[in-house]
Amino acid sequence: MMTVMTQATSQSRTFAGMTGRAVMIALIVVAVAAALPLVLTNYQVGLATEILIFGILAMSIDILAGFAGRTSLGHGAIFGVSSYVVVYATAQAGLPPAAAFALGMVAATLVAVIFGLLAVRTSGVYFLLLTLALGMIVWGICLRWTQVTGGENGMRGDVRPEWLVAHRAFYWAVLAGASAVSYAMWRFVRSPFGLTLLGIRDSESRMRSLGYNVPVHLFVGFTVSGFFAGIAGALYAMFNNFVSPSTVALAQSVEGVLMMIAGGVGTLFGGFVGAAAIIALENVVSAYTERWQMVLGVTFILIMIFTPEGIIGTLRAMLTRKAR
């Protein structure tokens, strides 16, 4: 899809950076998504909302993994910090939802800045381990700083404003947010800056020799990625009206990475597909057995062996093969 896009941009007129075809596809997808609550039960609408939220998280991880070649195991912590700040701002500081939301995003971005400053000099497995360690520090703080975070018990709050309490209303609000965020991320990765990140992923040494300041680019990429993870975290706080150390735990980061991979690394929108696949799988599997963890592990293994490009990635590969 991306190669087609870049060709088309130079040939036809664009609307806000998108070709006519792209706009149509986007509108259809959003329209279908908006129509879903009319045929789904409340519970399923809740699931769809979760898919959208985690899709954003997966996409934010993909910005680094797919476009800069660095997989982070610390984005769960960034995501969760936003949730904590939003719940705290609402429940303890009594701020209105909009202000709390904004604070959450700021907090997540700050955490990403700190992570990024430390992480940009590493790559590959070391990057993975460093972000894992940083995530664990955040988790440890949330767990032990009981006065502020509630420690083990977590924090509850009535984060959702009155007009978003209903399942459908909240879903549509999240859908609007997810659409805006997806568009923003899409523009970002296709911008000159985003293309530089791609170049770094493909060959760091080449980019360096061409005069690009690689660490600075990675740092900015990390910050932007954290910003988007923060949006997902703030939405999650609204969804649950609750936050606890498990929201910032390593498992959350792992789940985000898994969703990204299931959808397809580097496909960006694969994040939604991966989130939908994992969440749907969990719902189906849990109806039949307690062994969800084992199923998840086997799925992980199978994806790594057979379809490491993920669902979208594999589809794309099949389409390009057919095109030949």
């Binding site: 045929v39 519970y43 767990l143 032990r144 009981t146 083990e152 009206n241 609750f242 606890s244 109806a287």
Partner: protein, 419 residues
């Protein structure tokens, strides 16, 4: 089993029907089954307790052939994975997709608090026999959350503090898991003990899942104290008891435990290191009360192990709800009536062998047993009562209004009376 089929058919039904309730469906539902959603940690760090919770509920339902007040009972079980986010997700599933009339269960306090916050919004009756966070039945009461057949954390340690004074102990040190349940249990003991003239020499708090207690035991060994009170649950309890013994402290200083520490779920894999440890609890599986003996014997025959707090509490909890349902003709759809009736119902069939009532705050009143771990004839360890405190409420001998003016027990407030 009942759970999975129910979920599949309900999903199919919902998919076929239009969104939202229709009067036709709710009229039919009157005669349909009573759906109970059971949330328990079947995986994760407290998985063994979760399994026993399920057994306790099934043990009761099997004894009444899954029929209560003329209606069939369908039990839907979901795993909360010892994790509040998962607990929330499953609670949503049970209420919104499974259409359960009520929720029961959860083990860890943080999972219970998360679910309680959720049902505050939906009004679903939620029964928590195991969750012991004090405030859910004190200062931050939620109307539809009822601690049926459960206990609040400090309820048993209040009389325990009194018992410690009576043993002539003057100085005690406490070691506890660092979370609300631990703070509350220690606080209950500390308040009564210090108000009676005793001294809490030092308090140690450690994170949950501490593998190595040696740093704390080293410090404990250096103190001049009459006894140690240890508030531990699960694997932490196993390790503390073992390490307490292997470091030679058992021979020197008596160990007093929170009842979770000497619960069957812990001591059944231990040996002589748990012998003689004293705790305060409502349930002592080795009690000579005939009703308790019958319960313990039959449970052990069915599941191959002596019942623990988890099995006992869930059994009693679902029994309590069932007795309430009998009284109101099984009209479980009337939530307000169900909650009211449960609050007024006295548990007559309790394995404790005595009728149990709820106080006006929705918390049970028990006879508290001071119990000791002893070895049975067949070599297994169990808890036998040594003495008893009758009719102890969550407020001990304090006036409820006055008691609730003091802050809830926490790390910074342990109720310690300055000498």
């Amino acid at each position: 089993m009942h759970r999975r089929q129910f979920l599949k058919t309900s999903t199919a039904a919902l998919a076929a029907a239009s969104v939202g309730a229709s009067p036709w469906r709710s009229a039919r539902a009157q005669a349909g089954p009573i759906k109970i959603g059971l949330l328990a940690p079947l995986t994760g760090v407290v998985a063994s307790g979760g399994k026993e919770m399920v057994e306790g509920v099934q043990f009761y339902l099997d004894s009444v052939k899954s029929q209560v007040a003329g209606r069939k009972v369908e039990l839907v079980i979901e795993d909360d994975a010892s994790n509040p986010d998962t607990a929330l997700q499953k609670a949503r599933r049970l209420v919104e997709q499974g259409n359960c009339h009520m929720l029961i269960g959860n083990l860890l306090a943080n999972t219970g608090l998360a679910v309680a916050n959720y049902v505050k919004g939906t009004g679903t009756p939620y029964f928590i026999p195991i969750i012991a966070a004090d405030d859910l039945t004190q200062r931050q009461r939620i109307k539809n959350v009822i601690r049926v057949a459960g206990y609040s954390a400090s309820a048993f340690t209040h009389p325990f503090g009194d018992w410690a004074l009576k043993q002539g102990y003057k100085k005690i040190a406490t070691i506890s898991q660092d979370y609300t349940f631990g703070h509350e249990q220690c606080g209950g003991l500390a308040q009564v003990f210090t108000e009676g003239g005793g001294e809490i020499v030092q308090q140690f708090w450690h994170p949950l899942n501490t593998a190595d207690f040696s740093p704390y035991l080293g410090q404990l060994a250096d103190l001049k104290i009459d006894a140690v009170f240890a508030m531990e649950t699960g694997a932490d309890a196993t390790r503390l008891i073992q390490q307490y013994s292997s470091f030679g402290l058992k021979a020197k200083t008596p160990l007093l435990a929170a009842m979770n520490g000497t619960d069957q779920s812990v001591i059944r894999t231990l040996g002589e290191e748990c012998d003689g440890i004293i705790a305060a609890a409502h349930f002592a599986e080795g009690s000579d009360n005939p009703v308790t003996q019958k319960f313990t014997r039959e449970y052990e025959a069915k599941y191959g192990r002596i019942p623990s707090l988890y099995g006992f509490s869930m059994y009693s909890g679902v029994m309590w709800v069932a007795e309430a349902l009998e009284k109101m003709g099984g009209k479980v759809e009337d939530r307000d009536l169900l909650i009211d009736t449960v609050l007024k119902t006295e548990l007559t069939g309790s394995p404790l062998g005595k009728t149990v009532k709820l106080d006006s705050y929705g918390n049970p009143i028990y006879d508290v047993q001071i119990r000791k771990v002893v070895k049975r004839a067949d070599g297994k360890y169990w808890n036998v009562p040594v003495t008893s405190y009758p009719n102890v409420s969550q407020f001990w001998t304090y006036d409820p209004e006055t008691y609730m003016k003091q802050p809830p027990y926490s790390r910074s407030f342990q109720g310690i009376k300055k000498a």
